[in-house]
Amino acid sequence: MKKWNVVAVAALLALAAATFGGAYAADKLKVGFVYVGPIGDLGYTYQHELGRQALQKALNDKVETTFLENVPEGADAERAIEQLARAGNKLIFTTSFGFMDATLKVANKYPNVFFEHATGFKRAKNLATYAARFYEGRYIQGQIAGKMTKSGVIGYIVSFPIPEVISGINATMLGAQSVNPNVKFKIIWVNSWFDPGKEADAAKALIDQGADILTQHTDSPAAMQIAEQRGIRAFGQSSDMIKFGPHAQLTADTDYWGNYYIGRAKLVLEGKWKSDDTWDGLDKGMVVMAPYTNMPDDVKEMAMKTEAAIKSGSLHPFKCPITDQDGKTVECKGGSRLDNGQILSMNWYVKGIDDKVPGK
């Protein structure tokens, strides 16, 4: 509904530009964004939207941005991306894993348009990929959880078993084990990125089963609200959710895309864009920890130390040796740590996680 309006407006603008000589359109670089959720999700899509707004603000006289929200993954995505390309956008960001094949298809059709796909692994001459090292923040969260839990049980609400989610669970566990070797995880898969009711139900079930810290890899603040109501602690996801859990939120690993979007648009304007694979974390400010709250000073100090160590590179969440769930030592392709490929394709659990990777 809204997205088609945007498409229609974009198409009309392109038509108008073509009819009246195109002087206006030629001046500005048109940048399009394709979002999987509503911009008001207060989570993942909202953070991308903040990035788009930062880009528009920073290069206001040089770029013109549009976005399509609520674009379903699949065939519809291809149509939406192509509409943006046809409407004259020269740089198009598609922000969800499930847009991967659709983006590649459209990129092949429009060789003069630059595409960027978030969290995927397929690249082409005019298709770059970018992602944030979410797991860095999760390692810190694991340490905090390990210190803060009294019951020794941490509840984890998850969406889909993709590598990003699995590596998040593993990083949290490794962080927790580094301070509390006996910590246990209880994991519930809700099979949805976004269903506030179901996320709340899962949160209640986890608390009833003894969890006193909640963490989530789903997008709504429902679990945070339940934690606040039940008087336990929780971590926010993607966005700072402190408003929904003023006494519950410990921190949140938030994504900040603004710097990246501004940088990439500048490269296009300077004619220097090329297909890259960007994967930044805390050090480049693509992952930002929300303020550490509702915890004792010593835990806060520990969290800040760990954050600094990850930023400086002296600590890597996936440092070796790492033992998997079955007790086998994992091969270290990155020397002293797992390499990027191993993290990006992670489909196994580390030792100590009492769950089966779905579908394995």
């Binding site: 509904m1 809204k2 959720g37 509503p38 008001g40 999700d41 207060l42 609520n70 509840g155 209880k186 994991i187 519930i188 898969w189 809700v190 099979n191 949805s192 976004f194 269903d195 506030p196 009711g197 179901k198 996320e199 709340a200 139900d201 899962a202 209640k204 079930a205 986890l206 009833d208 089963q209 709504s220 603040p221 429902a222 609200q225 109501q229 408003k243 929904f244 009492d354 769950d355 089966k356 779905p358 579908g359």
Partner: protein, 318 residues
């Protein structure tokens, strides 16, 4: 003995107060929305726009409660929003004799878009959830106290509503007329019954119920508003009406069964019983299909339970 241990675990889980409370919360919006649709369909109208009316109820319900500070006003706003959207549907299908399936689908699309627009200014805000009933002594009774005497008002309303619908349909003359219109609108018209007027009232009632069901989400379930927060519950309500073979008592069973099995699918996962989580998440749908098959088998030769004029356009004296 791991099998026995697992069964004991499941048993303990199902009969815990917190599990039952969670199930009731999850089932209530389904029951409210499906109750309204049952009435609409018994009058022979198929409104596929429940999801759209629900999300409108959620947006307007939250807006009303946030601005007034009163859950009651919020609920009324939700009811009005659902009814207003269903009025659009009534104008199209009853007044202009538009195809009901197309109009219903359009209604959902309209509701989703419009609610996003209305709710945009309220995203990121939260309200105090509706308080639960608290009676001296009764609510403190072990086990049944919280379950029977400690619910939020919407739960009691949903139960009262479905009982009222049952009484209306089977114990009043108007209810009989409504069912007659649903089964054969031409004959009912020939007998002098006001087909379109009764259908209009039924459609408005269905919209009001869907609006109330939607308002339940931000007022009681998860006290914030986010676009698309109904997440397909309207479609499940629609399926429940078929599941219930258009009968109120079966609707209650269906709504609570669906709610219970979907919560069970979540709550069983951490117990590590070796059942794949995909199967767990499939359970409510699987259970629905199995019960549907059983019902249709035991019904024998009575034929379809659907109102015979369901979804058919009626134009008087053409």
């Amino acid at each position: 003995m791991p099998m026995v241990d697992a069964l004991i675990e499941i048993f303990k889980l199902i009969f815990s107060v917190s599990f039952i409370l969670t199930v009731i919360t999850a089932s209530t919006p389904l029951l409210l929305a499906a109750s309204g649709e049952l009435m609409v369909e018994r009058a022979g109208v198929l409104n596929l726009g429940i999801e759209g009316m629900m999300i409108m109820g959620a947006a307007c319900g939250f807006a009303g409660a946030y601005m007034s500070g009163s859950t009651l006003i919020g609920a009324l706003c939700g009811i009005l929003a659902g009814a207003a959207l269903s009025a659009v549907f009534a104008i199209l299908t009853l007044g202009l004799a538009v195809n009901q399936v197309a109009a219903g689908l359009a209604l959902t699309i309209l509701g989703v878009g419009l609610s996003g627009l209305i709710g945009a200014g309220f995203v990121g805000e939260q309200i105090v959830p509706v308080p639960h009933l608290q009676l001296p002594v009764l609510t403190d009774l072990p086990f049944i106290g919280r379950i029977v005497f400690g619910e939020d008002p919407f739960v009691y309303v949903s139960i009262a509503l479905i009982i009222a619908i049952w009484l209306f349909l089977y114990r009043t003359r108007t209810g009989l007329v409504l069912r007659a219109i649903g089964d054969n609108h031409a004959s009912a018209h020939a007998l002098g019954y006001p087909v379109l007027r009764i259908r209009l009232l039924a459609v408005l009632f269905g919209g009001a119920c869907a609006g109330l069901a939607g308002a339940y989400l931000p007022l009681a379930y998860t006290p914030f508003f986010i676009p698309g927060m109904t997440s397909g519950r309207g479609w499940i309500a629609l399926a429940l009406v078929v599941f219930a073979s258009w009968r109120p008592a079966r609707l209650v069973i269906g709504a609570y069964l669906f709610g219970a099995v979907s919560i069970l699918g979540l709550a069983l996962q951490p117990l590590q019983l070796g059942i794949p989580q995909q199967v767990m998440n499939m359970l409510p749908y699987l259970a629905t299909v199995i019960v549907l098959v059983l019902i249709s088998r035991t019904r024998g030769t009575a034929g379809s339970a659907a109102p015979a004029s369901l979804g058919l356009v009626f134009v008087p004296d053409r």
